[in-house]
């Protein structure tokens, strides 16, 4: 029997954060997504314990101002791509500049400096990532996926998928399916 899950990432992260901070008896308040205001100063070894605890969940404390901004950009992009509402036809650069509160030129230079890739490439990577998830649910046709991800046509989607991965969407599905069958045989 297969269970299909939907994740409310915000809720999950908030809960994990609260549990970790409560366990260490730290006085805090959660300021929006990704920000915690620690009321008093915190000793380095306790901070390390907190970081280690959070790391186990894949949550890391971001160190520098640049990294913080880059993370905000990535979050904005991910939110844009995973939102189920049709994104308005507003250009991505305008959307990001508004959301982050800095000029797009500044944002894109910073992003490339820190991540070694461009915002445009990162967006494609995230779109393809979401496409892979949708392909693997086996619930939508390639056409439906292309539409859901805002591509102007199925051909455009398949081309971008192939450019990004070297494989067509159907080859991707075929490979993952074969892998799963091999795993099932082993177990």
């Amino acid at each position: 029997m297969k269970l299909y899950l939907k994740f409310d990432i915000n809720a999950v992260c908030k809960k994990v954060l609260q549990e970790q901070l409560d366990a260490l008896d730290i006085d805090y308040s959660l300021v929006g997504f990704g920000e915690v205001d620690i009321q008093s100063s915190i000793a380095p070894d306790r901070l390390k314990t907190l970081q280690d605890g959070l790391n186990r969940y894949g949550i890391s404390v971001v160190e520098t101002h640049k990294s913080i901004l880059v993370q905000k950009i990535k979050d904005a992009i991910t939110e844009m791509i995973y939102s189920d509402e049709k994104i308005s036809n507003e250009k991505t650069s305008v959307y990001l500049a508004d959301k982050i509160g800095q000029s797009y030129g500044y944002i894109s230079n910073l992003f490339s400096d820190v991540t070694y890739t461009s915002i445009a490439n990162f967006i494609i990577l995230q779109k393809v990532e979401r496409a892979k998830q949708l392909i693997l649910t086996n619930e939508l046709t390639i056409t439906e996926i292309a539409w859901k991800l805002n591509y102007s046509s199925v051909a455009h989607f398949s081309n971008q998928f192939k450019n990004a991965t070297g494989l067509t969407p159907s080859a991707f599905l075929r490979i993952i399916d074969k892998r799963k069958r091999i795993m099932q045989k082993k177990n």
Binding site: V114, Y116, F122, L125, Q126, T165, L167, F172
Partner: protein, 148 residues
């Protein structure tokens, strides 16, 4: 502005290919640490040591004497400690079916060895950059497939 050094490992029995490879890495912009091994047996001996430092990306030549790249790939897939290592098959041209088979067996990346240095540099840079995004952005490694 990269805090971590990216560790890269290559197993290839051809000395010229190993040199080509390390030279290409000297010239890419990301900070990397490259180590090479001469064949599959050396590779598996290294990886099987419980405390050996693991690469972020492992490049495997398919045609090695003794233990082939495919032998190594299959063995690596049975070792839990190695599950976060991205595996790149690095080989001379193969048919689409052979390439698919390496993906099915668990490889993440397939690279057709280019003849030209500039092409190799570009390919390696792309591989490392994309792998880095997987490393830093919580993307699903199980779905990480790249054919170049």
């Amino acid at each position: 502005m990269q805090n971590e050094i990216i560790r890269v490992m290559l197993a290839d029995d051809d000395e010229d290919d190993r040199l080509f490879f390390t030279d290409a890495f000297d010239e890419i912009k990301m900070k990397t640490e490259v180590s090479t091994l001469n064949n599959g047996i050396e590779l598996m001996n290294y990886l099987n040591q419980p405390n050996s430092v693991l690469p972020h990306v492992l490049f495997l030549d398919l045609n090695m004497p003794g233990k082939t790249g495919m032998d190594c790939l299959r063995e690596i897939k049975t070792i839990d400690r190695l599950k976060d290592v991205a595996i790149a098959i690095y080989s001379t041209s193969a048919s689409d079916e052979d390439i698919e088979e390496t993906f099915v067996q668990g490889a993440n990346i397939y690279i057709k060895k280019p003849h030209e240095f500039a092409a190799l540099k570009k390919i390696l840079e792309d591989v490392i950059t994309i792998n880095w995004q997987y490393h830093t952005s919580g993307l699903n490694r199980d779905n990480f497939l790249l054919s170049l």
